[in-house]
């Protein structure tokens, strides 16, 4: 991934929170994920990417943060089902918005959502995985971007 492509996701994430929340998010400095980094939180959504790029975009966040975000939309039901649904929507929206810059051949899947289960998420080992910290209202979540051009990944960001 290029620096410019990472910036697309940084800007997209910032715009997302600015639009839906009363308080904007602070976007931390992106870093390369190391195997020992534990970044998966209570709810995670995975968007598969195909087309001119291949890989995955993940969004992972703690329960309390997702509950507060759901409430920002006027929702009173902050059950786990609603939180899981909304994490999928966040990942879907940020990924879809990236097409403004990455083009219509940046093809996104419907989200796969996991509750907890960090062991179920496997990051590809042959491509750089960038973690973009997303700090909001005292909570820390992460957008994780793992993309390469054209050729398929060896693990394809699999969920087991």
């Amino acid at each position: 991934m290029t620096e410019e492509e990472i910036r697309v996701f940084i800007n997209g994430t910032a715009n997302y929170f600015k639009t839906i929340a009363e308080v904007p998010a602070q976007i931390g400095t992106p870093f390369l994920k190391e195997p020992a980094d534990q970044i998966i939180s209570d709810f995670s959504a995975i968007i598969g990417i195909t087309g001119l790029h291949r890989g995955c975009v993940y969004y992972t966040a703690p329960r309390l943060m997702v509950q507060k975000l759901v409430q920002q939309l006027g929702e009173t039901d902050v059950s786990d089902d609603m939180c899981a649904d909304f994490v999928g929507e966040i990942a879907n929206t940020i990924s879809g918005n990236a097409r403004e810059h990455l083009g219509r051949n940046f093809l996104i899947s419907v989200p796969v959502v996991l509750r907890g289960r960090p062991e179920a998420i496997h990051f590809p080992n042959n491509v750089a995985t960038f973690v973009i910290p997303v700090l909001w209202d005292g909570h820390r979540s992460s957008l994780i971007v793992c993309l390469k051009d054209e050729e398929p990944l060896s693990m394809n960001g699999a969920v087991s």
């Binding site: 715009n15 839906i20 909304f86 999928g88 879809g96 918005n97 219509r104 996104i108």
Partner: protein
């Protein structure tokens, strides 16, 4: 008469695979503008609901399981060509918006959106 007044007796179908978004749209516009509102979580269910209560207006997501929103636009307009369809999608490339309009949708609203943005799009939908 205002657009808000014109829609009073109309029926609305909200199609989105996110329950949170369906309920948010319903809160934002449903009760104020429309006499009956139903929702569907994918394109297949959307067509079933469409047949069941023949809405005048549809808000349509694009990326959904079972049947995508653009195919659903085709199917709905084949059934009832005067249906007003507002596509609400995260897909931000211009080509997707153009494709939606080409297929017969009358408006395109990019996610994420505020209640004011949705209200503006719906008003334009009726005025145009």
């Amino acid at each position: 008469m205002t657009a808000r007044g014109e829609t009073r007796m109309m029926k609305l179908l909200i199609v989105d695979d996110s329950n949170v978004i369906r309920r948010a749209i319903e809160r934002m516009i449903g009760g104020q503008r429309f006499e009956e509102v139903r929702t569907a979580g994918n394109g297949v269910d959307a067509l079933k609901e469409f047949d069941a209560f023949e809405p005048d207006v549809v808000t349509m997501d694009i990326t959904m399981p079972e049947l995508d929103g653009l195919s659903c636009v085709d199917a709905i307009l084949a059934k009832k060509p005067d249906t007003l369809i507002l596509v609400i999608s995260a897909l931000a490339d211009k080509a997707t918006a153009v494709e939606a309009i080409k297929r017969g949708a009358q408006g395109f609203l990019l996610k994420p959106f505020t209640p004011e943005m949705l209200d503006t799009e719906l008003t334009e939908l009726f005025e145009n």
